[in-house]
Amino acid sequence: MNEFRFIGVDTARPDAPDKVSGRAQYIHDITLPGMLWGAIRFSDHAHARIRHIDTSEAEKLPGVEAVITAYNTPEVRIGFLRDNFALKRDKVRQFRDEIAAVAARDPETAREAAALIRVEYEPLPGVFSPEEALVEGAPLVHETDARGRARKDNIVPVRFAHHSGDLEAGKRASRHVVEGEYRVPLIQQSCMGTAGCIASFDARGNLTLVAKTQIPFLAQKDFNRALGALGLEGRNTRVVVPALGGGFGTGLDTHAYEYIAMLLAWRTGRPVKILYNREEEFAFLSPRQSASARIRQGCDENGRLTFREIEVVQDNGAYTSWGATFPSVMLVPATSLYRVQNVSFESKIVYTNNTYCQAMRGYGNPEITWPIESSIDELAELAGIDPFDMRLLNCNQPGETTPMGLKITTCGLKECLERTAASLDWKEKRGRQDAKRRGVGMAGVINVAGGGKIYRSDGSGIILKPDDYGNVNVSYGGVEMGQGLHSALALTVAEALGIRPENVIVNQTDTASCPWDVGTHASRGAFMACNAAVLAARKLKARLLEWAAEIYPQEVEEALARARRHSSFKEPDFDWRDAARRGQFELANGILTVTGAPELPELQVDFGRLLRAVHFRRQGPGTTFAEDAFYEPPTELPDWDKGIGNMSATYAFGAQGVEVEVDEETGEVKILRLVAVHDVGRVLNPQTLKGQIYGALAQGIGYAMYEQVLTDKGRVLNPGFTDYKLPTACEMGFPIDVQLVETNDPEGPFGAKGVGEPGLVPTAPAIANAIFDAIGVRIRDLPITPEKILLALRQRR
């Protein structure tokens, strides 16, 4: 039984009709009057000194309005370590380094002009893997830090570590110990909508940036700082977010191309648009970084975990963005996926001359769950225990505090594991290794699900503004990027306020009208937005019901007077005046009435009529309404050096299982069945939630089996979908069993947890574990290609 009217009910997304009919306005669809097009001249070398830049040919090209370089514009530093620049001077450190840019009347002219710029280089030796970069005396990617102090090595100065319990004691207490090195590749977020922006200035020097971003307010801060570099201190940036064709983490930082559009707009006095095509998106946008992890885990004779030790090395690329902070999220599963005392986690982020890396959905969690969950199976194999039993034995429990200090409130992991096993027919199928070479495997996940505190505030503001017609406009600082946030918000506002979802109008983000939000990441969008919405809706409802004492009798009397003109009218057999006097008002489904009233139209006041009656009041001054609220979750900013702190208000759990069939002659893996059971707290909208999980599973399978950005000495070799392979519908042609476990979290809006990321986290290890069950071969580096399997089979013989 559903205790709610709208929460938990399958409801079409409000943004769906425009998106499927081509009406949604993406950055690709937007042009402004007088707008110019920008194009960027990228580096021809992975590592080189810039000797000379000749822009004269580009400037002569008809239609070109401006050509800029670092030598004729103010220095604009970007990135949280300030180690990157909008335009590079003196030196390039990666193939995508921006050396010059052009503004022209159309995109073709801009690109042609950019190609006419002549750059002379002095090539330098580069480093293209952490191993190369860490060698004593290796070429330095950055000779100095942002403050100009000399650097001695290529290690990025960020530290995320954790040491708890007594590692040596844990090792001594172990009957079985496994060790392995696992790798994950460089992959691309592969948004359907490529990156782009439009920058324009007003006559007072204020910037408006239409940007494909997930962090409008942090971007505003970054750009206001950049305005300072232009001598425009005190001027403001307004960030306007268009419909986003996917974010997946690409919009978590500001990008050089956005600052370049700003510089070109300032130089020309006209709006400037920069739009990446697919090849540029692949070669010049920040992907998800490659990493390696060495893991050691032990258990006692019963299979209870005794210790876990992990060392991670990440290829940062040439500059620092949020990719360098993935270990902050890795700490969560490293310390808290299954019960384990005695944990050691160390991470090293290394500068190279590869493309610099950024956020992607899951943000370190898939990277580290891959070794942890593969290693659990290795440990179970060594100990002679069923891996499902081992997971149950070490399962997290509600109410526990983990070594990281995570306070586990609700926890559905046990049920997720059990349902996964049941759906796979685990006890029947596991360990069979029959002639068909079929196997089953599973893996679990823990993920932040109540925000992820990585900034001074992890809060979200919201404004609810009704109009005269019974609609409520919602202004929220987070971003709908395709995940279904606006759907969750519409249902939440409707439920909490007592109106219908179709009367909730959620506006895409604009820093000029929306309250502050830290950004849409860490599976926090719906959790934060809906918590803030519930707070604001309560305030709004309380105000409306105060007015009801005056408005309700007045409107009902009027309606009754009209009704009495008809001879057939019968007076209601209900003392509504008494109920109104006692303040027993109810607002539900867009109708104001009093408790116990029969369903007569005369005793019901439509929400819009109520609002108009207050606005255009008969006696005395009327008013309009708006209410805001700010929700700050009860969390702590962790001490990253110690890796301790309850960074999220709640945690999501889940388990996934697969059955595979392996062709031992070709190495091909066929997925026969996929099960995904997730503890989601509470289902807000079943269809958008399942959509999140189906999409995440496809990404998880892509990560597991197909995707990899291939590079040669820093140059991307497969910048497009011809040779960068995502799974197609054909690869997804197997039954998928999605099951949702409702643990009704006390901190969640209506009990809901964040669900954006967990769906792709355990997919790869579940597949690898199933392959091992089928053919006894373990692949430790993603993607698991047929070729790697065949090679491993040959080496085993």
């Binding site: 002659e665 070709t666 197909y706 070799l717 040779d723 995502l726 054909c730 290609t785 070729e787 065949l790």
Partner: protein
């Protein structure tokens, strides 16, 4: 990127325009337009469309022979019962070229004239002993398909010549043929492919034809393996030797789709399976 687009009204006009340096012939355009967009070939001033010339799009089944116009779209070829019933390896290959939308416009002649080492239509046509009709202002000639491919993107077409048709002799009803291929995901270029056509008479193999794709500079017949198998009974030793010979004939490379080693492995698997899975058939 802008071109003049000329829809050719007659074959004679197409021959004349094909000979000009400033023009490029376009049929389905599924390879050409990608190459132009990626600047993999010089931009012509004019695109000359030949896709609606009836002489080039007709599919005619004669006694013992199927003549397929070079500009017949793949879906129309696949819709022919004779293709599905008598030329199963060709049907299997055409069905995995691109997506349905691509197959609606892509043409058989285009797939062959693009001369990709991995052209999926080539191995089955090679094992069916297909010939191609080439014509131009200088006249018409016919060439075995096995002599048509000269290298990646290079064919025996002379300047101004157009491929007008592909002629496929229909195999005897007792012949068996199959096309196998692997790619990374669906709608991808082949990592390796193999077409096989043979008859089994009195327990021994006859008229064996093997042709591989994506494992050499051109699609190629594996003649040494064919000769070895001719007249032999199918057993594991015979197949092992055939695999060894086939692997000696191919020249695979490492690229983004797979390593030379894996391609060679796949050819061996395809070859073995083509015979192993069918040896109990209608001998």
């Amino acid at each position: 990127m802008a071109y003049d687009y000329h829809r050719s009204g007659s074959l004679a006009e197409a021959f004349a325009l094909a000979a000009r340096d400033d023009s490029a012939l376009i049929a389905g355009g599924t390879d050409l337009l990608v190459a132009l967009r990626k600047k993999k070939r010089a931009a012509p001033a004019r695109l000359v469309s030949i896709r609606s010339l009836p002489e080039l799009t007709a599919i005619e089944a004669g006694p013992g022979l199927l003549r397929i116009g070079a500009c017949a779209p793949l879906t129309e070829i696949l819709a022919q019962p004779v293709v599905r019933e008598r030329l199963p390896a060709l049907a299997q290959a055409l069905a995995v070229i691109g997506s349905r939308q691509i197959r609606n416009v892509a043409t058989l002649g285009g797939n062959l004239c693009n001369a990709s080492p991995g052209a999926d239509s080539a191995p089955p046509l090679l094992v069916y002993d297909a010939t191609v009709e080439l014509a131009g202002t200088g006249g018409r000639r016919e060439l075995p398909l096995s002599e048509f491919f000269l290298g990646p993107g290079r064919t025996a077409l002379r300047p101004g010549e157009i491929m007008t048709a592909v002629c496929v002799p229909l195999p005897v009803p007792s012949a068996q043929s199959v096309f196998q291929r692997r790619s990374r995901v669906a709608m991808d270029l082949a990592t390796a492919s193999l077409a096989v056509n043979y008859e089994l008479q009195g327990g021994v193999l006859k008229s064996v034809r093997l042709a591989a794709g994506a494992v050499a500079p051109t699609p190629l017949r594996l003649r040494a393996a064919e000769s070895w198998l001719e007249g032999r009974a199918v057993n594991e030793e015979t197949l092992a030797k055939a695999v060894e010979l086939a692997r000696g004939e191919i020249k695979p490379i490492d690229d983004l789709r797979g390593s030379a080693w894996y391609r060679s492995e796949l050819i061996g698997v395809f070859l073995s399976r083509a015979f192993r899975n069918r040896k109990e058939g209608d001998a």
